[in-house]
């Protein structure tokens, strides 16, 4: 068992009277795809939002590469190398694909135009964006300067996934990346994930699609009522057992209990 | 301590600031407690009604008011008088004037007449083919606006048609009327507009000195020289402008006098119930308007800018 890259202990988060995270733990190891499954409202999205700085947990500890971190904004997590595809995508509809890919990490022109006049190097950003999108074989975008709002739901999802895959340097987190996608498009995202994994990055995949999770995940984190109740190996458990544990129909067997 | 009130149109105009200073000084001297109120903008009747109501509620002996809406405030003033308060109207007479116990004001029509006569006298024969631009106050023609404007026309020798309304005249010498809101900015834009309509303007009537200063600025910028500018008010910057030859003549008013006279009258009323006397012919106590100019014209009484500067306000 390798050392965890990203690890959390005792995370809690409360929204008014709802406890979204109730002393939750989390471990992500080097070079693995970690599936996260759980009922609607189990707190999966809140968990990963806490990990990537989008919400500040009320309590608990997060360690990245063994060092305790405490992100106060998504920017800080990103600077630490954690990239996230949010369930609701987090794209700016009126901005172009290239603008969205580089949002918050724009490249400036070389020389005085960039350092003094802070001019954006749009040509370079467009080139890189086009490269990243086609390198990932995700889609054939005709015009990289198209506004994201003119893309179909599937294409948007593609941009968000490509952004995370292209820029993640430590961890990539994907919250239901295939929910709105068709069969063909989902397949491409799964392939992309395996691709990213081959590049050596660990991935967190949250999904309600059991076949998808069981296909690509190396380990599966089962979330229930705001906490991790088990971590299973998909080779040792059947889908129905995982669902049974997830919904509370079955007690997590000893050994995998978290 | 007897409570007295002073209600002005707005807060931001130096004319009313001076008036308040005059009232404050006098009230202190007479041992009165002064409450001051002002509307949010020129024409804000609602705030003045509320101010009168609070003065009635506070049991004030009387108050002085510069009405924002000279006829619509009348019913509320009647309420105050019914409640036993002495109401003195300053600067802008009520419509009807006798709705107040007394009015201390400048005769605005007369003030306009003075500058009209002076302009006509200065031009002499050339008055017959003058080109006159009017920098007025607002599109809805409040009382001061038409009184001064029509007074000027009377003095200048223009047939005013309806004396309570401008814009209905057909004298060829009139280039046009534009509104300025009484501010420099408004004066600049209005003058620019009028200059386009008649590039040969040689007389400018302005509702007040800020509008006149704005008009001058626009004329200067357009390189138009030798224009006779007249205005009403007599504020210190205005008098200074007369001295510098920017404005030819201005009719000076005396807001400090109005306010302090009003305070005295209310103090007297509080003591023994006597109400102030007013000029029976005019129907109000004329605090006077004097023409300030360094180029006097025969037949028009005037004072020079040195004296004007001594008497000026703001």
């Amino acid at each position: 068992m390798s050392e965890p890259v990203l690890e959390a202990r005792g995370l809690t988060k409360r929204y008014g009277r709802v406890v979204a995270l109730d002393n939750a733990d989390f471990d992500l190891r080097e070079n693995e795809i970690l599936g996260v499954i759980g009922d609607n409202g189990a707190g999966k999205s809140t968990l990963i939002k806490a990990l990537c700085g989008a919400v500040v947990p009320d309590g608990g500890e997060i360690r990245l590469g063994g060092k305790t971190v405490s992100f106060r904004s998504p920017l800080e997590a990103r600077l630490a190398g954690i990239e996230t595809v949010y369930q609701d995508l987090a794209l700016s509809p009126a901005l172009s694909i290239a603008d969205n890919m580089f949002l918050g990490r724009e490249l400036r022109k070389p020389g005085i135009m960039g350092s003094v006049f802070r001019g954006l190097d749009r040509t370079k950003m467009q080139k890189i964006a086009r490269e990243k999108l086609s390198e990932l074989g995700l889609m054939t975008i005709q015009n990289i300067n198209q506004a994201v709002e003119t893309l179909s739901g599937g294409q948007r999802q593609g941009v968000a996934v490509a952004r995370a895959a292209a820029f993640g340097s430590r961890v990539v987190i994907m919250d239901e990346p295939t929910a709105a996608l068709g069969v063909k498009e989902s397949r491409r995202v799964l392939e992309l994930m395996l691709d990213v994994k081959r590049r050596g990055l660990p991935i967190v995949l949250i999904s309600h699609n059991m076949p998808h999770v069981f296909e690509v995940a190396d380990r599966i984190h089962i979330h229930r009522l705001g906490k991790r109740i088990a971590v299973i190996n998909p080779r040792d458990f059947s889908m129905s057992d995982a669902v049974a544990i997830m919904t509370g129909a079955m007690k997590p067997p000893a050994g995998v209990e978290a | 301590q007897d409570i007295v009130g002073l209600i002005t149109k707005t807060e931001g105009n130096p004319f009313f600031v001076k008036m308040r200073e005059g009232a404050e000084a006098k009230a202190k001297e007479l041992g009165l407690e002064l409450r001051t109120f002002a509307g949010d903008f020129d024409g804000d009747n609602e705030s003045q009604i509320a101010a009168i109501e609070s003065l009635i509620a506070a049991g004030a002996k009387g108050f002085a008011i510069v009405p924002s809406d000279s006829s619509a405030i009348v019913p509320t003033i009647q309420q105050a008088r019914d409640a036993g308060l002495l109401v003195i109207v300053l600067d802008t007479p009520l419509d009807p004037m006798d709705a107040a116990d007394a009015t201390f004001a400048t005769d605005n029509r007369q003030a306009g007449r003075l500058i009209g006569q002076w302009a006509a006298g200065t031009l002499g024969d050339k008055a017959a083919d003058a080109k006159i631009a009017f920098l007025d106050l607002a599109t809805n023609q409040p009382t001061v606006d038409y009184l001064r404007d029509q007074g000027f026309m009377e003095g200048f020798g223009i047939d005013v048609k309806d004396p309570n309304k401008y814009g209905d005249e057909d004298d060829a010498r009139i280039c046009g009327h534009e509104v300025t809101a009484g501010s420099e900015e408004g004066g600049v834009t209005a003058m620019e507009t009028l200059l386009q309509r008649c590039p040969d303007i040689n007389v400018v009537y302005a509702i007040n000195e800020p509008a006149a200063a704005g008009g001058y600025q626009a004329l200067q910028a357009a390189g138009v020289e030798n224009v006779l500018i007249v205005a009403v008010d007599g504020g210190c910057p205005g008098v200074q402008n007369v001295k510098d030859g920017i404005i030819g003549a201005t009719a000076q008013q005396y807001p400090l006098d109005m306010a302090s006279l009003a305070m005295e009258a209310i103090a007297k009323f509080a003591k023994d119930g006597t109400k102030p006397e007013v000029d029976p012919k005019l129907g109000f106590y004329d605090t006077g308007a004097r023409l300030v100019t360094d180029k006097p014209v025969a037949g028009v009484e005037s004072i020079d800018t040195a004296e004007g500067a001594k008497l000026c306000w703001g």
Binding site: S240, A249 | G43, A57, Q141
Partner: protein, 358 residues
């Protein structure tokens, strides 16, 4: 079922005896501050009420009780009547995520039409009065039609019609005031809303205030107890969802603007009573005051949330501050400054309380 549709079926075998309980968490005792916040979160109209009460108490102390004079309290009510009426109209529009900058102009225009017809043209008041109200209704209708038929932003439409109605005011009235005596002679009815009923101790109730409360109650009923009201909220919440849910969005919106116009017409009637004359001047700031009352009352400018009761409190808060500060003898200039600061503070408190997850 096709033979290979096994994925989901097998996964769901595990559902057999899934727990059907609703998720429940232990809740530890919240801090008192948090508890107060939660109370207000559940009773949002309580916030302006509390702010109001606190302001009243403070002023009562500072002015040595003078503020609590029966007469003074009556005066505040009379003084906020118009703003409360316009605020009621504005609330309706703002709940639909719109805004109406023309309310003040419609009010004045309606009052002038009534007065002008009755006095200058000697139209019997039974005709002149409803025509005046109708003017308000039509002005509102025009706003509503422009907003829905041309799909223009309400801000632009009412900015334009504000200008237009403003010019009409001057044109129709010829910039002349209709005097109190003339009204007494030809149409005393138009002045009736300004009459006061003494209620003892120097206190009084203006008829117009009673009318305002009745109108507000009616609008409250309409908003909270009728289908129309539900639709108004639904449109402000998400107009597309409302349309898909089978609501006639355009009809409802036109209705809202027309009703708002009618309320402004009623405000015009009260205006005549309050002033005692019909004047074309003034009320330039009535729009902003009404919007301020609405926002302080907790109605969201983004639509979908808000209440008439909140607006009434909002209007009272501004009235109380204004009156309280003037009773303490604060100079009008400082008063302007203080009211500006108080608006910000009042809304800041409101926001803090609403942020239940803070």
């Amino acid at each position: 079922m096709s033979d290979d549709a096994t994925g989901s079926a097998t996964a769901e075998r595990g559902l057999g005896n899934a727990s059907h309980g609703v998720a429940s968490f232990d809740e530890d005792a919240p801090s008192p501050l948090r508890r107060i916040q939660q109370f207000f979160h559940q009773n949002p109209t309580a916030i302006p009420a509390i702010i109001l009460i606190v302001a009243v108490v403070i002023f009562a102390f500072v002015t040595g009780g003078k503020f609590f004079g029966a007469l003074n309290l009556s005066l505040i009510l009379a003084q906020v009547t118009l703003i409360a009426l316009l605020g009621t109209a504005q609330t309706l529009v703002i709940i639909t995520a719109g805004i109406d900058l023309s309310v003040g102009a419609i009010m004045v225009l309606s009052s002038i039409i009534m007065g002008k017809l009755a006095v200058d043209y000697q139209v019997p008041v039974v005709l002149a009065f409803p025509i005046g109200l109708l003017t308000g209704l039509l002005c509102g209708l025009a706003n509503g039609i422009l907003v829905t038929a041309l799909k223009l932003p309400p801000f632009i439409v009412t900015l334009g019609t504000w200008s237009i109605y403003g010019a009409l005011i001057t044109l129709v009235s010829n910039a002349a005031t209709i005097r109190s005596q003339a009204l007494d002679q030809f149409a005393p009815f138009l002045k009736s809303m300004g009459a006061r009923i003494p209620v003892g101790g120097g206190a009084f109730l203006m008829y117009g205030s009673i009318l305002m409360i009745a109108v507000a109650a009616l609008v409250w009923y309409m908003l909270s107890r009728t289908a129309f009201g539900r639709h108004v909220y639904a449109i402000g919440d998400d107009s597309n969802a409302a349309r898909l849910s089978g609501i006639q969005v355009n009809h409802t919106l036109v209705g809202v603007y027309a009703i708002a116009g009618l309320l402004c017409g009623i405000a015009g009637w009260v205006l005549i009573g309050r002033v005692g004359a019909v004047s074309p001047l003034g009320n330039q700031t009535a729009n902003l005051d009404a919007i301020t009352a609405v926002v302080i009352g907790g109605t969201s400018l983004f639509g979908g949330r808000g209440s008439i009761v909140g607006t009434l409190f909002g209007a009272l808060i501004v009235g109380v501050f204004d009156s309280g500060l003037s009773l303490t003898g604060v100079d009008p200039l400082w008063r302007q400054l203080t009211v500006g600061a108080l608006i910000i503070i009042a809304v800041a408190i409101d926001q803090w309380i609403r942020r239940v997850s803070a």
